[in-house]
Each structure stands twice: as structure tokens, then as C-alpha cells.
């Protein structure tokens, strides 16, 4: 932003002032407006309550397309368009171009009437029905499923409860599943403190406000999130590529949604505090979630710099499942940057594609 040359002539000074004016406009625009996101063409093929299932319009001829459709399941407390951030930086666009029949389950924004929704409902009422629709539309009895963050918890539970439902490939991204280490990461520490009572939050708000979840995520790296991010923008205001990328990411980061109260309770109590899932003690509508029932091919992608779901929370599932074909992929980067950062296109996406392609025929 600051010029590296001192303006000496009136022309230089005028140019400098013009540049400052342009940069100020850019700064105002990207910090106060929404970027154009989620532009890959799609159609809604199913809805239930707030949830929507999208099918992305294939661009590859049917004979060259992979036979097994891919269902993407994102977390509950953020919008899923991080998977389709903007043209050229969209995992969905990349996969569609590589011949996949891609579906995305958008959980929607829960209202107060949804405060009683639990993992049980999301998995057995919503996910199961969405999968039924994917099968009907694609005409394939087999399918691949990718779960990211809390979405990975949901897909893991589903894979364990319904191992014979046609799930061929299970892809987990930064999956917070094992909370044995109570000192790994800020979240685990905070929610395991004696004074932290999730019940009080839920009874006060019904659903946990998006702002509260956002504060929690940002507070894990306060300087980077509250200052560093804006300094990066300031330093690169004359670089349209970085500015537009920042704008799109900022749009996603500030697009907050609440989390259903009962799900939050379950997440904190049963997973973060009691670590039931990895111990095989979690019960979903009377059915025990036994991870050894998972037989689908498993690709587990973990981010080495993940401060939200540290690698130790994601790795141990490899020893718990019965999948004969399993692969642990370690990627540089953080919780989101791994899939939406500049390195994703060069490393993460091609790895996911090459692993999945040979298992989607």
C-alpha cells in the first residue's frame, strides 16, 4: 500500500494520490461487500427443512464420467460454499471438470425450531435421505462421500451405522474424532475446563450463535485472525489476485450461521469431553456407533498446521476401521487453507482426485 518511492514531481504526486484513492476504494469494497461465490452451475434436487441437496451440472460427457457419484458433506456451523469459493479456486469446479458427478449437502441455517436437532437427526433423517436421492438421481447404488470437519463426524457415524448402504469410498478431511489428548488445541482445553457449561449456553440462546463459534475459532490464533489477515490485505491492495482471493475468503469467514443447540451439547459433552465416538461408546438413536463396521475405502486427509482439529484428533481412526484399503494423507496447511488455500490446487485436490478416480469405476 505504501509506495516504495517518494513522489518528487507533481505528476508523481498526482499518481500517488490516485493510487491511494483507488486503494481506499478497494479496501472499502472488500471489507464491506460480499464477493461473488459459489458460481459453479448447480441445481437443487432435494430439500428437507433447511437442508438442500445440490447436483452440479456435469461438464464431462457421460461416457467419460466416473461411475460412482461423490457426495460432499460440510460442517454444520459454516456455509459449504468454501468448497466452491470462486472460479479457479473451487474444489467442486475441479472435481466436476475431472469427471465426477458431484453432489453437495447444504445443511442450511437452523432456526429456533431446530434447536433440538442432534447428530442422530442429521445422520439418520437428513443424510440418509439425501443419499437415497443421490442414488436415485445418479442411478448408481454405490457412492463416495467426503466429510469435512464436523461433516467428517457425520459421515463417519453414517459409515459405521450403515456399512452396507453402498458407501464405496469415505474421504475424511480434518476430522475431529479422537479427543483423548485433553491438551491438544485450544478448543479441547476450553471445553474441558470445569467452569465451562455448554448447557448454560444452549439454555440461554437455544442455538449457539454463529458469532460465538466464530469468536472461538478466531481466538485460537488471535493475532493472525484479527490483525494479520488485514495487514496482508493492506500490503497487497495493488495486487488484484490477492485482493479478490481475500475478498472471497472474507465473505465466507463472515457468513456466520448458528449451530443447533442439541448438536452442540452432543459435540461438547459426548465427543470433546467424554470422547465416546473413538471409544465405540457413542449411541445414535439406540444404535451403538462401532467404527470397526466401516469397510469403505478410506482416505483420511489431515492438515499438519491445523489448530482447530489437531492431527492427533484425526489420525487414530485408521486403526479403528476395518477398511482394507486405507490411506492417510498429510498435507501442509491449516484447517481451511488445506482445501481452499493457494496450495490446494497444486497438492490436495490432485491427490484426492487421483485416489478417488481409481476407486470410482
Amino acid at each position: 500500500m505504501v509506495s516504495s518511492q517518494i513522489p518528487l514531481t507533481p505528476e508523481e504526486l498526482q499518481r500517488e494520490l490516485q493510487q491511494i484513492e483507488e486503494n481506499s476504494h478497494t479496501l472499502l469494497r472488500v471489507t464491506t461487500s460480499r464477493a461473488l461465490v459459489a458460481q459453479t452451475p448447480k441445481e437443487v434436487i432435494w430439500t428437507l427443512n433447511k437442508a438442500k441437496l445440490y447436483r452440479y451440472i456435469p461438464v464431462v460427457p457421460v461416457e467419460k464420467r466416473h461411475k460412482v457419484p461423490l457426495l460432499l458433506v460440510f460442517a454444520l456451523m459454516n456455509k459449504p460454499y468454501i468448497l466452491d469459493l470462486r472460479p479457479g479456486n473451487s474444489f467442486i469446479e475441479y472435481m466436476v471438470k475431472h469427471g465426477y458427478d458431484v453432489y453437495l449437502l447444504d445443511w442450511g441455517v437452523p432456526g429456533l425450531e431446530d434447536k433440538e436437532l442432534k447428530f442422530d437427526d442429521y445422520v439418520l433423517d437428513y443424510l440418509t435421505r439425501a443419499i437415497r436421492k443421490v442414488k436415485a438421481v445418479s442411478g448408481s447404488q454405490e457412492f463416495s462421500m467426503l466429510g469435512w470437519c464436523i461433516g467428517a463426524i457425520l459421515t463417519t457415524i453414517y459409515a459405521a451405522l450403515r456399512p452396507d448402504d453402498g458407501l464405496k469410498n469415505l474421504l475424511l478431511l480434518t476430522a475431529p474424532l479422537d479427543f483423548t489428548d485433553k491438551k491438544a488445541g485450544g478448543f479441547v482445553r476450553w471445553v474441558n475446563d470445569k467452569s465451562f457449561d455448554p448447557g448454560k449456553i444452549v439454555s440461554a440462546f437455544g442455538n449457539v450463535p454463529g458469532e460465538m463459534i466464530d469468536y472461538g475459532a478466531k481466538a485460537l490464533k488471535p493475532v493472525e485472525n484479527y490483525i494479520g489477515s488485514y495487514l496482508t490485505l493492506w500490503d497487497n491492495l495493488d495486487n488484484p489476485r490477492i485482493v479478490e482471493s481475500w475478498h472471497a475468503m472474507n465473505t465466507w469467514v463472515t457468513d456466520l450461521i448458528p449451530m443447533a443447540g442439541a448438536t452442540y451439547m452432543q459435540l461438547i459433552k459426548e465427543l470433546y469431553q467424554e470422547n465416546r465416538l473413538i471409544q465405540g461408546k457413542m449411541v445414535i438413536r439406540g444404535e451403538r456407533v462401532n467404527l470397526s463396521h466401516i469397510r469403505a475405502n478410506l482416505l483420511n486427509v489431515i492438515a499438519l498446521g491445523d489448530h482447530i482439529s489437531p492431527p492427533c484428533q484425526s489420525e487414530s481412526i485408521m486403526t479403528k476401521v476395518s477398511s482394507k484399503d486405507q490411506f492417510l494423507l498429510k498435507v501442509k496447511g491449516g484447517h481451511i487453507g488445506m482445501m481452499a488455500g493457494s496450495g490446494a490446487l497444486k497438492f490436495t485436490w490432485p491427490h484426492i482426485d487421483s485416489w478417488l478416480a481409481e476407486r470410482s469405476e
Binding site: V2, S4, Q5, I6, L8, E43, V44, I45, W46, T47, L48, N49, R55, V62, G111, L112, E113, D125, R129, R132, K133, A136, V137, S138, G139, G185, G186, R189, W190, N192, D193, K194, S195, F196, D197, K200, I201, S203, A204, A219, L220, K221, P222, V223, E224, I227, G228, L231, D235, H307
Partner: protein, 180 residues
């Protein structure tokens, strides 16, 4: 630095000023980044400490404990006002929304069952047509019956807008592909 001093013309004071400005700017940026990095490490250590967890937990607990009585009073007052005005309360709307979701789920199940029935019927009719065509092959060498039937099916489906239109059309396309 050597390159800079070599390229600096001592007779050009403005050039020298620019070089100095540039160097100072670079230094300032690197100092800023270093201090931010250090500050960041300190803050990350701080938020990952037991003391921070305890303090934030207690702060949240206090905030929630203090705001609850006020919220309860507001809720009670609103309930009384809305009842007096004979207007629905938030709980009424929530109950209605829950009922709608249940209806939606049941409709979704019916929709899936209908899809199954349609698919089975299409399979049966397709297999019947195949057997018909195989007996009529001399009269219809180009299998025109199949093509026109499929076109008709797609046209009929496209009259029904919405979700099932998309899926059904796709099914027909998949079916057509399978038959090819």
C-alpha cells in the same frame, strides 16, 4: 547493500532519498512482521493455557448467569402481551415449523417410494418392449419404438417442474444410456 550503494548517484540527492526511503520501508515491514510473529506466538501460548481456559469459562459463566434473569423477564412479559393480544407466540411458530418438517419427511418418503414404483414400472415396460421389439424386428429394423418412447417420456416429465423432474429426466437418460 553493495548493489544499492553502487547504483546510488551521490550527485542525485533525490535518488539517494528514495533509496533510503525504500530501505527504511523494508526494514520497518520486516520489524513489523517479526514483532507480529512474536506477539502471535505469545497470544497462542496464552489462549492455549489452563489459566485462559479457566478465565474465559468463568467470564462466560458469569455473563450467562447475569443475562438469564433478564431474558426470563422479557420472555414472560412477551408471553403475557402476545396472549393478551391474541397473537401467536414464538413457541407456537416453532411447534408449527416442527410439524411442517415432520410432514416434509413423510412426503419425502412417499416421494422416494413413488420413485421406486416408477422405476420398477419403467423397467417392466422396457423389458416388455424389448421382448415385443425382438419379435417385431423384421418390421422395425431401426428400433424406432424405443427412441420415440423415450422422447415422449422425457417430454412428459419435463412438464412436471421441480425436483422430481430433474431426477426422472436423469433416470431416463441413464436408462437410455444403459440400453445403448
Amino acid at each position: 547493500m553493495n548493489e544499492e550503494s553502487e547504483s546510488t548517484n551521490p550527485l542525485d540527492p533525490f535518488g539517494a532519498m528514495n533509496t533510503m526511503w525504500e530501505a527504511n520501508l523494508k526494514n520497518w515491514k520486516s520489524m513489523r512482521d517479526t514483532s507480529l510473529e512474536n506477539w502471535s506466538k505469545i497470544m497462542i501460548d496464552m489462549v492455549n493455557s489452563d489459566e485462559y481456559s479457566q478465565a474465559s469459562g468463568q467470564w462466560l459463566d458469569t455473563y450467562l448467569s447475569m443475562s438469564q434473569p433478564m431474558k426470563r423477564i422479557i420472555d414472560m412479559t412477551m408471553t403475557q402481551v402476545l396472549t393478551a393480544l391474541n397473537m401467536p407466540m414464538r413457541t407456537d411458530v416453532i411447534n408449527l415449523a416442527e410439524r411442517l418438517t415432520n410432514i416434509e419427511m413423510r412426503m419425502d418418503d412417499q416421494d422416494a417410494k413413488l420413485d421406486d414404483i416408477l422405476r420398477n414400472m419403467q423397467t417392466i415396460s422396457a423389458s416388455n418392449q424389448t421382448s415385443d421389439v425382438s419379435t417385431m424386428t423384421p418390421a422395425h429394423p431401426n428400433n424406432g419404438v424405443h427412441a420415440s418412447d423415450e422422447t415422449h417420456a422425457v417430454k412428459m416429465k419435463s412438464k412436471n417442474p421441480g425436483v422430481s423432474h430433474i431426477s426422472q429426466t436423469d433416470e431416463v437418460q441413464h436408462k437410455a444410456k444403459g440400453e445403448q
